[in-house]
């Protein structure tokens, strides 16, 4: 059931994120980007499987962990994604702030020209 429930949560995250990204306001766009990032991370997490709950850590004293453990590879991918997502948000934020200053508007519809 957890899988079905989390899939629903992911769907809601995406829908809300996409809606915000289609707004004309810069700030809303950035919030939407953040929501979609969470959705994507959860998607990978759910797809990797939720049945086991033992963290992928080898206890002291042994060289091989007690199976079953959670698949560590998707976790490594998500970890990368979280950090990159943060970098992206920071960059987009500064980019939009500068654009806002240059164009004198925070309306995305008015930021169409590339030359100037």
């Amino acid at each position: 059931m957890t899988e079905v429930f989390l899939s629903l949560v992911i769907g809601v995250l995406y829908a809300a994120g996409l809606y915000l990204m289609m707004c004309r306001n810069i700030a809303k766009f950035i919030i939407g980007l953040g929501l979609i990032g969470h959705g994507a991370n959860l998607l990978i997490f759910t797809a990797a499987g939720l049945s086991t709950q033992r963290a992928p850590i080898v206890p002291e004293g042994v060289t091989i962990p007690v199976v079953p453990i959670v698949d560590p590879l998707p976790q490594a991918l998500i970890l990368t994604a979280i950090v990159i997502g943060f970098g992206l948000t920071a960059f987009v934020l500064v980019l939009f702030l500068s654009a806002h200053e240059v164009e004198g508007t925070d309306d995305l519809e008015k930021m169409r020209s590339t030359d100037q």
């Binding site: 059931m1 899988e3 429930f5 989390l6 629903l8 949560v9 992911i10 809601v12 995250l13 995406y14 829908a15 809300a16 994120g17 996409l18 809606y19 990204m21 289609m22 004309r24 306001n25 700030a27 809303k28 919030i31 953040g34 929501l35 998607l43 997490f45 759910t46 797809a47 939720l50 033992r54 963290a55 992928p56 850590i57 080898v58 206890p59 060289t63 091989i64 199976v67 453990i69 560590p72 590879l73 976790q75 490594a76 998500i78 990368t80 979280i82 950090v83 990159i84 943060f86 970098g87 992206l88 948000t89 920071a90 960059f91 500064v94 500068s98 925070d106 995305l108 519809e109 930021m111």
Partner: protein, 764 residues
């Protein structure tokens, strides 16, 4: 033979370098390459004439049956000789014609490339290879026609030639691929050995149609003829080389080459004869309205090409021989006339035949060459053109429907030969500024040598051209031995009577040139409805389509991009789900615990909250709730590392967002309710697709998990107990390095943008 073809490309590549050291003299050095090729081809003539086919094979891309295979038989040799010999003369001519032009070496370089491509076309043994060289000739001719790229007409004409022949090239490619598949081989040698086995093949009509379109577009047959006169924007050497003696004959070559494979059927005979005759008449009709030297010549070239296609269509032994001899004669006199026309315009600055005259005093050598070439074109006795025309008449005498157009075209040749080749040198005066001079020797070499060829072909046709024509005709007819008997004078025969009649009518027409031009000019508006118009309209339509689709897809509106991406994703995903008809089977079922339920509900509430929030702070707070709950879910399902990272990032992000949002004026969405509703529908569709995708991802295990490898080796190889960490810094260290780089770049860009802002602020 590979070296023969490649030498042109190599020379073209080296020429700019040579130009740096030798200046304009580099063109003379470049002319050595085609000259050497001419000698080489000439020395292999005895072997080819004895019926031998020289073959060279080297492997290129064996995986797709593409070999660098070349073969030299009579037909190829005839073309190769024309290409390299006229190439040498044209490059020599260019060295004086473009004297003082800083881009002379570029022109010569492109000419060499063209020559090499053209040699590739006529020597290629592999059909695909032939097609590649075919396209290369279109490409290099684009460079040559558009050489004066600062003139709009040049650019337009170059593009037109490229598009028309390029479009034909696509047809040819399809035809060649089908032909190769049907014949079971892409090697011309093998296909030719099969000998007419394709006429009964199921795909024969399609193959024939495709290849004919390709050949017709290249050889300027109606309705593709319009690009050739427009291509006269090219500098004269290029017109003389490409558009009279070589490239436009590539289509004729292809038809002649494939005659043994595709020829002889009713469709072949019908189409070639009909299109040939139509082209003949179109060229003749259009030529009558022209007054400019090069355009006059261009339309007669169209007519001449129609002649050759028509003769190949008739396909009898005599007609094939006539086509070959006519091709040789035409190459000699037409190139010569073009070169002299270039000299005239070069010296007088005038291209209108009505205003030219009395030039013989100033340029006697050029005048003599011009008259000889014109006599050959008009088909007066004791010229190469006469021999060719006699053969043509002999092969069409019994076909009334073909004979009349042939006479009409010959009549036109008489008129144009007079106007272009003789009239400028008759007593009279030119409205030219300054006194014209005799052209320098480099420019005269071409007309003189070609003029001598016209004479030699007229006086001693059998010795001059008999053997070459015989071996070429034999190759066209699939290796049948062809007895060619060329004579300067056959005595009184039906052909010579027809010839005499043509000449008399022609002379009469010359005296009536004034009326002729008037009638032609009266018909000029008709040309507006020709294929040229269709081409322009199509080009315009294409541009409009491009503008429209750019406006729709590349609107510059970020919102629309997002919507298009989401809808495309939903559409493609939905399509593949519908097609497979599979729904998630939910083979993994973990019971839902209360903490998970509460966290999930909170996430959904947070997402919706940030969506409907009216203030910036509340939206950031709602996003924070989502992030916090997501990290708790990571904790619940055995991912402490993710949870820690997420929490840190969440805190940092919240600080960043709040401080940045203070600078923005409003948190108001400027959409009306229709837009909101539309966006909501798109967003919900996207969310649904993602839900479904997640559920289906649960069922899929494409490859066996490699988790156990990391688990087993983390301590032994990576010396770390936190497996996720070991993966990041050890097993996939390069990945992490890339990630750090991306972050660093993002950080650096952010800093740079902030600095820009600050600098802008300080300035204001």
């Amino acid at each position: 033979m590979l070296y023969a073809v490649m030498s042109g490309f190599v020379a073209a590549a080296l020429l700019p370098l040579l130009h740096r050291f030798l200046g304009e003299r580099s063109s003379l050095v470049a002319a050595v390459v085609p000259l050497a090729l001419t000698v080489w081809f000439a020395t292999s003539f005895p072997r080819v004439a004895s019926g031998e086919v020289l073959v060279s094979q080297s492997s290129w891309l064996p995986e797709i049956h593409l070999e660098l295979g070349f073969r030299l038989d009579g037909l190829s040799l005839l073309f190769a000789l024309l290409i390299s010999a006229i190439g040498a003369l044209v490059i020599l001519y260019t060295s004086a014609y473009l004297h003082g032009n800083p881009r002379q070496h570029q022109f010569v370089s492109a000419t060499l490339m063209f020559m090499a491509s053209m040699l590739g076309v006529v020597l290629a043994d592999n059909l695909v290879l032939l097609f590649i060289f075919w396209e290369l000739t279109s490409f290099t001719s684009y460079l040559l026609i558009g050489f004066d790229h600062e003139k709009e007409e040049s650019r337009k004409a170059a593009l037109q030639a490229l598009l028309v022949t390029g479009l034909g090239g696509l047809f040819l490619l399809a035809g060649v691929l089908l032909l190769g598949t049907a014949a079971g081989s892409f090697s011309l040698s093998e296909i030719l050995r099969a000998d007419r086995a394709l006429a009964g093949h199921a795909d024969y009509p399609v193959i024939l149609g495709l290849i004919l379109v390709g050949a017709f577009s290249k050889s300027a047959q109606t309705p593709f003829h319009f690009w050739l006169p427009n291509a006269m924007q090219a500098p004269t050497p290029a017109s003389a080389y490409l558009h009279s003696s070589t490239m436009v004959k590539a289509g004729v070559y292809l038809l002649a080459r494939l005659n043994p494979v595709l020829g002889g059927t009713e469709a072949w005979i019908g189409w070639l004869t009909a299109v040939g005759v139509l082209t003949l008449l179109t060229g003749a009709l259009m030529a009558s309205a022209q007054v400019y030297l090069k355009r006059l010549l261009a339309y007669t070239t169209v007519a001449a090409l129609g002649f050759m296609v028509m003769l190949l269509g008739i396909g009898s032994e005599r007609a094939v021989q006539a086509a070959v001899v006519f091709l040789m004669a035409h190459a000699c006199y037409k190139a010569s006339l073009f070169l002299v026309a270039g000299i005239i315009t070069h010296e007088t600055g005038e291209a209108d035949v009505r205003r030219l005259g009395g030039l013989l005093r100033f340029m006697p050598v050029a005048g003599a060459c011009s008259v000889v070439a014109a006599v050959s074109m008009a088909g007066l006795p004791l010229s190469f053109g006469f021999v060719a025309k006699e053969l043509v008449y002999a092969s069409v005498l019994d076909r009334f429907l073909v004979f009349i157009p042939a006479v009409a075209a010959s009549l036109l040749f008489v008129v144009v030969a007079f106007q272009v080749g003789i009239k400028p040198f008759l007593p009279g005066s030119s409205d030219s500024s300054g006194t014209p001079h005799e052209a320098p020797p480099a420019m005269l070499a071409g007309p003189v040598i070609l003029g001598l060829a016209c004479l030699a072909g007229g006086f001693f046709p059998q010795a001059f051209a008999g053997a070459l024509a015989a071996s070429a005709a034999a190759a066209i007819q699939g290796g049948l031995v062809s007895e060619v008997d060329l004579q300067a004078w056959h005595g009184i025969t039906p052909e010579s009577v027809a010839s005499a009649l043509t000449l008399m009518l022609g002379v009469a027409a010359v005296f009536a040139t004034g009326h002729w031009v008037r009638i032609g000019s009266a018909m000029k508006p008709l040309a507006n409805f020709g294929p040229d118009r269709v081409y322009v309209a199509k080009l315009k339509g294409l541009n409009l389509l491009a503008v429209w689709q750019t406006r729709v897809l590349q609107s510059g509106s970020l919102r629309r991009y997002v919507a298009i991406i989401v809808l495309a994703m939903v559409g493609l995903f939905g399509l593949s789900v519908l097609r497979s008809g599979e729904l998630p089977i939910l083979n993994r079922n973990t019971p839902l615990t209360l903490p998970s339920l509460i966290l999930g509900l909170l996430i959904m509430l947070g997402a919706i909250g940030s969506m409907i929030a009216t203030s910036r702070i509340s939206a950031v707070a709602a996003l924070g709730v989502v992030g916090f709950c997501v990290s708790l879910i990571y904790v619940l399902h055995g991912a402490p590392d993710l949870a820690m990272t997420q929490l840190v990032v969440e805190a940092l992000g919240a600080v960043l967002l709040v401080s940045a949002f203070l600078n923005l004026p409003s948190f108001h969405d400027r959409k009306r309710w229709v837009g909101r509703f539309r966006d909501a529908v798109v967003a919900i569709l996207g969310g649904l697709a993602m839900t479904l995708m997640t559920l289906m991802a649960n069922d899929v295990q494409l490859a066996p998990s490699i988790a156990h490898y990391f688990a087993e080796t983390s301590v032994l190889l990576g010396h770390g107990r936190n497996i996720v960490n070991v993966i990041l810094v050890d097993f996939r260290a390069l990945d992490t390095l890339g990630e750090i780089t991306v972050l660093a770049i993002a950080g650096a860009s952010a800093v740079a943008l902030l600095k820009l802002r600050m600098a802008a602020k300080r300035r204001s």
